[in-house]
């Protein structure tokens, strides 16, 4: 099958029908690409030929491969497909400076949330997207070096563990994928972005504020200096070094133009209040 999200088209092949069926359902809202030529080919393969039928076990493969990734059970086909797609982009894309971050937009300006997994950035972005912001993306911020603009890559958000119930309370039930229990990342459920985010997935935004959220800590706000920000973003990027000079220019421009603030928060209500306050303060 072929599916497109923002500026990236994937071709996905599988030794089984189930993962493709699950993907088809999850991406049913996304318009089909005009051309079926893919940027990346993704393959979900049986680890051994007989593993197609007996204790099926999925290996993630594709143009850019993970030969030793721990294989996943067939029930986790959706997770495997999503991981494989992310990996292709992380390793293969050179059109954009990729930052591991979630982003939302308002009035053409993008708010970017980066930081470690478990920092709560995905949950926060999903919540903001349900409160009047346009969802830009959850996994990668795609920054175009020539313009400094961020391009949407609004893939389904993978909600984990406690975040599932928190968002279930806010979003319509038909936007959720199946619940995947006991994955290597715990319980996992995909949330399809609001239809507006999908409809506008070719509309870039201007990066305006970068936050480093950290969940679980006492509420605190701290400016992140340019040098610290630069170094942290090189480590949050999957392709900074691979882009060479272009990467340096794009990133120095980004850290010069976009203020960065570290936000510690004890609960999502505090986080959202803080985000709104910081956003307003920008004027």
């Amino acid at each position: 099958m072929t599916l497109a999200c923002g500026p990236v088209t994937f071709r996905i092949g599988s030794d089984w029908a189930a993962p493709i069926k699950a993907l088809d359902a999850l991406y049913s809202d996304y318009p089909k690409p005009q051309s079926t030529i893919p940027h990346f080919t993704v393959r979900l393969e049986a680890t051994r030929w007989w593993r197609r039928w007996i204790a099926p076990s999925i290996a993630i493969s594709g143009d850019f491969r993970l030969p030793e990734v721990a294989p996943l059970a067939l029930g986790m086909g959706l997770l495997a497909a999503e991981m494989a797609m992310n990996l292709q982009v992380a390793l293969g894309d050179r059109r954009f400076l990729l930052i591991h971050a979630a982003s939302v937009e308002k009035d053409g300006k993008a708010l970017i949330l980066t930081g470690e997994s478990g920092s709560g950035k995905s949950t926060l972005a999903a919540m903001l997207a349900l409160k009047g912001w346009r969802f830009i993306g959850d996994e990668f911020a795609l920054i175009e070096p020539a313009t400094g603009l961020i391009y949407p890559f609004p893939r389904p958000t993978s909600l984990k563990n406690d975040a599932i119930a928190a968002i279930l309370a806010l979003a319509p039930a038909d936007r959720f994928g199946p619940l995947l229990r006991d994955t290597p990342k715990g319980d996992l459920r995909h949330l399809v972005p609001p239809s507006d985010a999908i409809a506008r997935m070719h509309e870039p935004a201007r990066p305006t504020l970068l936050l480093y959220p950290r969940f679980g800590a006492k509420a605190a706000v701290r400016d992140v200096g340019k040098a610290e920000n630069f170094v942290r973003l090189t480590q949050a990027s999957t392709n900074y070094v691979a882009l060479g000079e272009t990467g340096f220019q794009a990133l120095t421009r980004f850290v010069s133009d976009v203020p960065a603030i570290a936000v510690d928060y004890p609960d999502s209500a505090t986080a959202i209040r803080t985000v709104n306050r910081l956003w307003k303060a920008l004027g």
């Binding site: 071709r11 051309s35 030529i37 893919p38 080919t41 143009d63 850019f64 293969g92 059109r95 060479g244």
Partner: protein
């Protein structure tokens, strides 16, 4: 059933791609990535009116190749700096040599490790200087180490501790245990061509002999298509030089690799329509067909096909490198190590 001939055609005859439909493009791009030839394909298709997505994919590959080129040249430069005080000449091999010399074969090519050749009698000094300059052993595995030092034509691989880059320091292009070939290292060094400040490449003919040796003698033909593409590019660039074929015949004889070079010429002629010298290419052999099938074993998803054939070539890759008693001992030791660690 589609195989990598699809990719070979696009490389050899770029207008071929103008007739492709979306499915044909999807297959071409996946095969090019799998064979590590996407950058080379990008160079070949440059300027043709191709679909936007294909252009973007190939552009990605070119950026990757360019970053790799800078990195490879930098590793060569750092090796040169480390060895310069000893006045050891550094002869670049394979991909690094192609880009350093600005050859067509280097355009868009992905480069793995930095491969250099130094005189055998100076290899201990070179090793010490590299270790002092921040390179480290990749594997402190005593069996592998002894194996390399006793039977191989290179030091065990070194890696730079800060730059995460590997360097293979060769003293010859073939292992001394190889069943065929007896590459004359002194002649390789005597014929080397200066680049700039202490860096050298092999002569055009030795470069081709090495590419042929590398294609057949040094591996199980995985990635073989790229090696044959190197050979095509080298021949097309160098064959114009007066006396090239004659010197190539002499070099192949000197290194005992006439059969390798001969087969390499037949394969590249067959795959890429490379103009080759009929005398040296000689007559097709029945086994050429197996080599061809092995090299082209890719489906439209970029997957390897022909499992049995691949296994045969894998066994062959060990077989040709060492006499059978040694091979048995090697496989036995590897097997024992695996058992013990269970």
């Amino acid at each position: 059933m589609m195989d990598a001939r699809h990719l070979a055609k696009a490389l050899a005859d770029p207008p071929y791609v103008l007739g492709l439909d979306d499915r044909g493009w999807a297959a071409l791009l996946a095969m090019a990535q799998a064979e590590r030839l996407a950058g080379s394909l990008a160079v070949r298709l440059d300027g043709l009116p191709i679909p936007a997505v294909a252009r973007e994919v190939l552009r990605n590959a070119l950026v990757t190749a360019e970053t790799g080129r800078i990195r490879a040249l930098w590793e060569a430069e750092m090796a040169r700096r480390a060895l310069a005080p000893l006045r050891i000449p550094v002869i670049l091999l394979k991909g690094t040599a192609f880009v350093a010399a600005g050859l067509d074969a280097g355009r868009g090519r992905l480069i793995g490790d930095c491969d250099i050749l130094v005189p055998r009698d100076r290899i201990a000094e070179a090793e010490a200087a590299l270790l002092a300059a921040g390179w480290e052993w990749v594997k402190p595995d005593p069996y592998d180490d002894t194996y390399y030092r006793t039977y191989m034509h290179e030091l065990p691989p070194l890696i730079h501790k800060d730059r995460d880059a590997m360097i293979d320091v060769h003293h010859n292009i073939l292992p001394p245990t190889a069943r065929t070939g007896r590459a004359d290292a002194a002649a390789l060094i005597a014929g080397a061509m200066p680049l700039n400040e202490g860096l050298f490449t092999l002569s055009p003919e030795d470069m081709l002999v090495h590419a042929a040796a590398h294609l057949f003698a040094d591996g199980d033909l995985a990635g073989g298509l790229r090696n044959v593409w190197d050979i095509d590019r080298l021949i097309r660039e160098h064959a114009e030089i007066e006396g090239y074929w004659q010197r190539l015949v002499e070099a192949a004889r000197r290194h005992g690799l006439v059969a390798h070079v001969s087969r390499a010429l037949r394969l590249t002629h067959h795959l890429f329509d490379t103009p080759v010298d009929a005398f040296l290419a000689y007559l097709p052999r029945r086994s050429d067909v197996a080599f061809m099938s092995r090299i082209l074993a890719r489906d439209r998803w970029g997957r390897e096909t022909q499992k049995a054939l691949r296994f045969a070539f894998y066994v062959r890759s060990h077989w040709i490198r060492m006499p059978s008693l040694m091979l048995a001992r090697h496989l036995w030791t590897k097997w024992r190590t695996r058992q013990r660690s269970r």
